[in-house]
Amino acid sequence: MSDDFAIVTEGLTRRFGQLTAVNRVALRIPRGRIYGFLGPNGSGKSTTIRMLCGLLTPSEGEAVVLGLKVPGEAEALKRKIGYMTQRFSLYEDLTVLENLQFIAEIFCLPRARRRGRIEELMEGFHLTELRRQWAGTLSGGQKQRLALAAAILHEPQLLFLDEPTSAVDPQSRRDFWERLFELADNGTTLLVSTHYMDEAERCHGLAILDRGVVVADGTPATLEAGINAWVVEVESERARVARNAIAPLPGVFSVTQLGARLRVLLEREIDEPQGYIQAALDQAHTPATSRLTSAGLEDVFVAATQGRYRGGSA
């Protein structure tokens, strides 16, 4: 049963003094998939990943990763997992090639395979030209490619990527995700933490974390369908005025401006959301059009981090 899952946790909790950084997190992450952790700063993404790697001891709860209990059996796990840390953690005063050689040796790759594997990765990650450059002098995107290459060098079954694409341009980000899908196709399970909606949308499944708690989880589609709120989009020449008219309304819990458009989230209890908003706009003599629309992942994120995702229905 638990063989179908790469990661199973139950009541996973980690406290730092008074602060509960991760609070009773239960996860079931299937094998061969890309699973996302979406959450604001300080929501406990890194802490959860560290516990799953066996680097931090949970205060409470259990975690089984690839059939091994952590932190108890963490040493046996090290060979099977790869971990790309949030902060660049390769040696800045070693060259690209030296870093990769070091990792290959540390993982005791057979001598015969070491060279080929490093060549293959440098080729695939466009690092061949940079092989003699110190890692510390690489650009953000180059560092990130090197870090990923190092993390998968020993062909792990499970890969943890902690905010791998911060400080990377959109094109590089697309390329990067291409590689992640390739890895998933070859059977690797990936756990990726991110703050980016577009990245979260690419995941097979994801959990939204807020202050250490999983406030929503599922596939992007089920999350969007399951939102416990109305989404009304307002278009107006005078968006700021429109915003001021809408924001104080009872039942409105979020207004986000996107240029000339506003995205308004309302509680489900309101019967006629579009009419409700339009009436308020007319009353404020603000020329605007409004329409009811379906929720996107960002709406789910906003609702969930305000405690409105399961608030009414669950």
Partner: protein, 366 residues
């Protein structure tokens, strides 16, 4: 599964990083050079040429001879004469002179009587080194005295000082200096070794690999052992050619003893490395250890002169044992077997600290 590749990987990585770290590299060569120059040239416990004033109330030929003899001993250097002993003390208070010689008017009669000392020596005894030097002078006076009575110049007693006949302090200091320099550099290098990885974020990656504690620790030590041996060779060469410091015992014994001492310091550095939260803290802890090592080990002050409690503390410090061993080998030609007790103490210290370091280091972040 053990894997020698992994150990070698750590060693190679350390060496590469070390070769690129100019400051550390400078320290490896710079500290021994600086220290040996300082201790060899500048610091000299053999006090000479103390500024001296003389009150010669006798004004005879014999009193002139006494003053000339005192100057010939090189301990004193007569810079002026004074009217009376009051002026002498006045000048001493003002710091103009360190020694005053008073030769009374009845100097020659006193010499004959032999029950009272003939002349008076006034010394600024606040500095024990000066006091010690002045005491040598009183011995000289005694010899003068006997010369006068016996007439054949046979001294009362002869000082026998076979190990450092010229009383050159460099000969005595350089062997101990090997220990001081190694303590300074070796502990510091390894003390920052793991802390640095933590500060730079490398540790989070490293502890997520199959590398074992012992491989990491030993791998980090090996390059520094070689560096330590290079430093020793440098000190021995400088000592030999600048100060003619002899090596009476076997050179192989010197290196073996040093090897053990290097290991003791490196493993201690590793322990500090697992305790400190930052490189700065590691440096503070190193200094905290370094100070008693220098003061209590017998390198600076004679071990036997220290109070019992200080001696107990000193016995825990590796430098104390090493100073005994290395002086034994280099100055007295002792072999390792004769110094077994101190060698065992060093070996015990090394084993203990390495064990603590390996046990203390967890592949965790908390």
């Amino acid at each position: 599964m053990s894997c020698i590749t992994r150990l070698l990987a750590v060693v190679r990585k350390e060496v590469r990083q070390l070769a690129r770290d100019r400051l550390t590299f400078g320290m490896i060569v710079g500290i021994p050079m600086l220290q040996i120059m300082l201790f060899g040239f500048a610091i000299n416990t053999d006090v000479r040429h103390l500024d001296t004033a003389v009150v010669d109330q006798a004004g005879s030929q014999l009193s002139a001879t006494l003053i000339a003899d005192a100057e010939a001993s090189q301990v004193v250097h007569v810079v002026r004469t004074a009217r009376d002993s009051t002026e002498l003390q006045e000048r001493m208070r003002r710091g103009e002179i360190a020694v005053g010689i008073v030769i009374p008017a009845d100097f020659e009669r006193r010499l004959q009587q032999n029950d009272r000392s003939a002349a008076q020596l006034i010394v600024d005894g606040a500095d024990p080194l000066i006091l010690g030097a002045a005491q040598k002078l009183t011995q000289m006076e005694l010899q003068q005295d006997s010369t006068l009575q016996q007439g054949d110049g046979a001294p009362l007693f002869e000082l026998y000082n076979p190990y450092n006949p010229e009383r050159r302090s460099a000969v005595y200091i350089v062997p101990g200096l090997i220990g001081v320099i190694l303590t300074m550099t070796m502990v510091l290098f390894t003390a920052v070794a793991i802390v640095r990885e933590r500060e730079r974020g490398n540790l989070e990656l490293l502890i997520n690999t199959p590398v074992r504690n012992i491989e990491l620790m030993v791998g980090k030590i090996i390059p520094y052992i070689i560096i330590g041996l290079l430093q020793v060779s440098l000190i021995l060469l400088l000592g030999r050619f600048l100060f003619q410091v002899p090596i009476v015992g076997a050179i192989g014994d010197v290196y073996l003893a040093t090897l053990l001492f290097i290991a003791a310091n490196l493993t201690l550095g590793l322990v500090i490395s697992t305790l400190a939260a930052s490189q700065f803290q590691a440096m503070q802890m190193t200094f905290f250890f370094f100070l008693p090592s220098i003061l209590l080990s017998g390198f600076m002050f004679p071990f036997d002169g220290m109070p019992q409690a200080a001696q107990y503390i000193a016995e825990v410090l590796p430098l104390t044992h090493f100073v005994r061993i290395i002086r034994g080998i280099m100055l007295r030609g002792a072999d390792l077997l004769e110094l077994l007790g101190d060698i065992q103490a060093l070996a015990l210290f090394t084993t203990l600290t390495l064990t603590i370091a390996v046990l203390r280091f967890h592949k965790r972040l908390d």
